[in-house]
Symmetry: C2
Subunit: 311 residues, 2 copies
């Protein structure tokens, strides 16, 4: 029996399923990671996948469960709304979306996503909406952990998010497809044959890529340089993959208006935040780094409105 | 017999093989197009593919043959050098690379490519080489046709080239992977399911993409807008493919420092130069448009140094 479990916290993203048992103080008792991301689960199969991943935890603990991420998308378990920005913790907590459960079972609920309607400084110009699912929980979790109520929160990944927070509310954000572009170029482009996909990370080549992108010629041009550096033997295949990574992360950072000396809150897997921290430092920008602890802290804080099993 | 044929002009690119019989005044007598681009020909098979494509023309005319494009690359028929920029017509003509032929056969030669060593205005910063193969012939051909000796020559394609010409010499150029990025995003990315790949071109959606990219948020962000515009039903799948095309061509144009009222020389397939002309017009830039005639004119001009069949 897991009587010490107060919450099953679950982050069900596009490409992975992660869960943790948290105690009454929000401390992590146990974690699990599975490869069954939302994109790999067929419609109608979500309850079954959830049961095999966490059913034993549910039965042993009787604790409620809160799920964030793409599980609440059109392709997910049950579609949830997007909270419109500016959005604070209370708006998010008020829109948790319970799943229908059999009587006597502890509640399971999904966290809504966030949306914003493009850059409000571009009045009169074409505005395109933006969305996140899962990162909003990490942002509010990071606020819980750090006590920060204002700042630029950066969540690198397949689709990186840069979110502006003021007075503890997310006022707007932008998505960058850097991770997906990197995968596309590495796997499917003409550049693939110039790269050694199994190479160890090369910090110096990565820095050259970041610095190159800062020269402002644009990603469409800079990417071709991976081919020519290879063609003339100016950089070897082992280093070129890190160079390409630097070009992409550098392009993402160069698109921001960051002043030297600024500091951002960087949230994500350590392998990725290490790269972003290095690239930000090359732009003179510092960071506070957090990992998945931000997810668990966010879900724990949001769960306070959930009931427990009705006896 | 093709006694009127003075030159077999061949453009052998990555993905296609095109040839033309030209008369003594450079006029096109006949054209052929094949799908056997350099990337689809195995090492050692180039002579055989060439023979099946143009062998009858060779035997009937006894005319020399000049080949431009990727046939001169590492992956091609016979590797040729790159002329270093700044490069004029005479440097290119002096470096034609003859193929070994049996005695009595008319000569076959390959045109070298061009290389430059990055933006010379960026002294002290990281410089990355750039290359072209085939486009240099089109540029010199365009000069022949238009009489222009100065200007910005734009050759859209899988890897678009923007070349600066001064006093009839190519002083430098930059490659943009716009066409390849478009193909990658359309075929392999998360955006693919939002697009109708069989849709007719949508001029208004294309213009929205060009204008969106001009707002300067960067391609990594703007591309994600294809997904959110679809998600909220702001643009339908038929229009979104043109919108994405506008984002990419717009990003390529925004990367230049073009002043409104400028004019460029645009060389390429009419379907593509039509799009670029529209996007340039949205930036206030005009253009002179040329198609494959530039290739034949360039090869004809370069062929004057070639002999004919030795009797």
């Amino acid at each position: 029996m897991h009587r010490d479990t107060a919450l099953l916290a679950v982050d069900w993203g596009s490409s992975s399923l992660r869960g943790a048992r948290l105690d009454g103080a929000g401390r992590v008792l146990e974690q699990r990671v599975f490869t069954q991301g939302v994109l790999s689960v067929a419609p109608g199969q979500f309850a079954g996948v959830f049961e095999s991943a966490f059913g034993d935890w549910r039965r042993a603990s009787g604790a409620p469960c809160l799920i964030s991420g793409m599980a609440g998308s059109q392709q997910g378990w049950q579609e949830t709304a997007y909270c419109a920005c500016p959005a604070g913790f209370d708006e998010l907590a008020a829109q948790l979306s319970p799943l229908a459960q059999e009587p006597g079972c502890a509640p399971i609920a999904l966290v809504p996503g966030l949306r914003c309607d493009g850059d409000c400084t571009l009045a009169g110009l074409d505005r395109v909406p933006d969305v996140m699912r899962g990162e909003e929980v990490q942002i509010f979790g990071a606020m819980q952990i750090t006590g920060l109520r204002d700042g630029l929160f950066v969540l690198p990944g397949t689709h990186s998010k840069w979110a502006r927070v003021a007075a503890a509310r997310v006022t707007g954000f932008k998505t960058y497809m850097s991770g997906e572009f990197f995968a596309l170029l590495r796997q499917h482009s003409m550049l693939a044959r110039s790269l050694d996909a199994n190479a160890e990370p090369d910090s110096e080549a990565f820095a050259r890529g970041v610095q190159r992108s800062a020269q402002g010629a644009g990603l469409l041009h800079d990417a071709f340089g991976v081919r020519t550096l290879s063609l003339f033997g100016h950089m070897d295949a082992a280093a070129l993959q890190s160079y390409l990574s630097g070009l992409l992360i550098g392009a993402e950072i160069s698109a921001q208006s960051l002043r030297s000396g600024a500091e951002v809150i960087l949230i994500g897997a350590p392998a990725l935040t290490t790269l972003y921290a290095q690239a930000l430092a090359l732009h003179g920008v510092g960071c506070v780094r957090l990992d998945e602890q931000a997810t668990w802290a966010g879900l724990f804080a949001l769960s306070r409105g959930l009931g427990t099993a009705t006896p």
